[in-house]
């Protein structure tokens, strides 16, 4: 006993908690309770990952924004200390500029920002409204139980990103299957590698066609950069792959998980069902982005120079993970953070990240979600879950959180 007291450090077992942490049973919308505890105790703590490494976990809002806005942290997955989500796919290329630092990151990103400007996205709103209405018509023509993911949540963003990129939607079964494998944490590195090579091969071929015969789409504009010698074919393919994947899983999961959250909060759902005020719909979208957390594995970086954050020095070569779902529940920024309140001002959430890597597609995602949340529940006011909540399978096994299926009826 005396020995232990004399030398507490060497006696202390490895206490860094494992990350990611399990969610509380029956509480699919809240961050893991352990994450909440960590946030209460300190803005930064060490956690242990799947490979035994112990990066820093940042749980508070202000500190997360400070790290993500700091040029001394790197998004390059090859950097020493970078905390990987799962074993990397051997021989895989980078997912374009999201895994690069400035100035190369900025150079490549700026090549594809044009279609995501607010006014250009607004111009697409009527077309998105038509797609949403069409999908709802098709759903209403069916009877019995319908899987909202398959019938609505996935087809919408898929149709839109295919249209924007110029990828034939007819091929969707093929690449949706592959992208699903790419974002599944339980897939082996070999499986993920094979899936990503398949879609990359497909996109490389399509890019070749657009180089020869350009059209009015984003793929052709990327192809034009290849022709101009600004990027090579491989970089162009990685960029197209990034846009295709990012356009799929994220919005789809926000639609399905968001609908489930609303069905579980009938008073909030009623607000959307009864309003035609675009301001309330827009605020509902921000609040659901804050409240839900489909990017549940955190934003990851490697520190390239010693930095001090929240009173803690992070050394060069150490990894850092920003758990955005818990930052979005930081009571310092969002009072009563665990309450879903569609009328609150949630615009400062970090659901799209922060800093130079903040989601490029966010204006598109916002607009799609506004059209969906502003239409679906008004058109199907009796929409309800067609199975017990306990039977819904949540995507704890994927890089992007959500539900595998959402059986609904009306």
């Amino acid at each position: 006993m005396a020995d232990i007291l004399a030398d507490p450090v060497s006696q202390e077992p490895d206490t860094a908690p494992e990350f990611p942490m399990p969610r509380a049973a029956r509480c699919p919308f809240d961050p893991p309770p352990a994450l909440k505890e960590l946030q209460r105790e300190a803005p930064l703590t060490r956690v242990r990952l799947w490979d035994g490494s112990e990066p820093w976990l940042v749980t508070r809002y202000a500190e997360q924004r400070a790290v993500l806005g700091d040029a001394r942290v790197s998004a390059d997955t090859d950097r020493p200390g970078y905390p990987t989500k799962a074993s990397p796919d051997a021989g895989e290329g980078k997912l374009s500029f999201i895994m690069m630092d400035d100035p190369e990151h900025a150079r490549l990103r700026r090549m594809v920002t044009a279609p995501f400007a607010i006014k250009k996205i607004e111009a697409l709103r009527p077309a998105v409204q038509r797609i949403v209405d069409g999908l709802i018509d098709d759903m209403l023509a069916r009877s019995g139980t319908v899987d909202l993911v398959e019938a609505f949540a996935l087809p919408l963003p898929s149709l839109v990103i295919c249209e924007l990129l110029g990828v034939p939607y007819d091929d969707h079964a093929f690449f949706q299957d592959s992208t699903k494998t790419m974002v599944r944490t339980t897939a082996t590195p070999a499986e993920r590698g094979a899936a990503s090579r398949e879609v990359a091969g497909y996109l490389a071929e399509l890019l070749g066609k657009r180089i020869a015969d350009p059209r009015d789409d984003l793929l052709s504009s990327i192809a034009g950069r290849v022709t101009a010698g600004e990027i090579d074919h491989r970089q162009a393919t990685e960029m197209a792959l990034l846009l295709l994947i990012a356009g799929h899983e994220t919005t789809a999961n926000m639609i399905a998980l968001g609908t489930l959250a609303l069905l579980e909060h009938p008073d909030q759902l009623a607000l959307l069902r009864e309003t035609d005020d675009p301001k309330l719909v827009a605020s509902a979208v921000e609040e659901l982005l804050r409240y839900l957390h489909i990017t549940h594995l955190g934003r990851r970086r490697a520190v390239t120079e010693d930095i001090e954050i929240g009173g803690q020095v992070i050394r060069a070569g150490e990894g850092v993970i920003m758990a955005n779902e818990i930052a979005n529940r930081d009571p310092e920024v969002f009072p009563d953070p665990d309450r879903l309140d569609l009328t609150r001002d949630a615009r400062r959430h970090v659901a799209f990240g922060f800093g130079v890597h903040q989601c490029l597609g966010q204006p598109l995602a916002r607009m799609e979600l506004q059209v969906v949340y502003g239409t679906l529940y008004r058109r199907i006011p009796t929409l309800k879950l067609a199975c017990p909540l306990e039977d819904v399978r949540f995507k704890d096994d994927a890089f992007i959180y959500g539900v595998h299926e959402l059986p609904v009826a009306w």
Partner: protein, 64 residues
Amino acid sequence: MKVELEADKCVASGQCVLAAMDVFDQDDDGIAILLEDRPAPELLDDVKEAIAVCPAAAIRLVEQ
């Protein structure tokens, strides 16, 4: 108060346009442009929101 925008920091997120339409716009590539560098006092709250949500810290308010 004067608004300053460093366009070379901008990552074209459009957040400033959403927060303060009367003060910010975007060029053809989505890069922010300043419509009004001395906005009317009633727009100041919107400008402050734009500053708070700009992911790239590209916008500032300075005492003239």
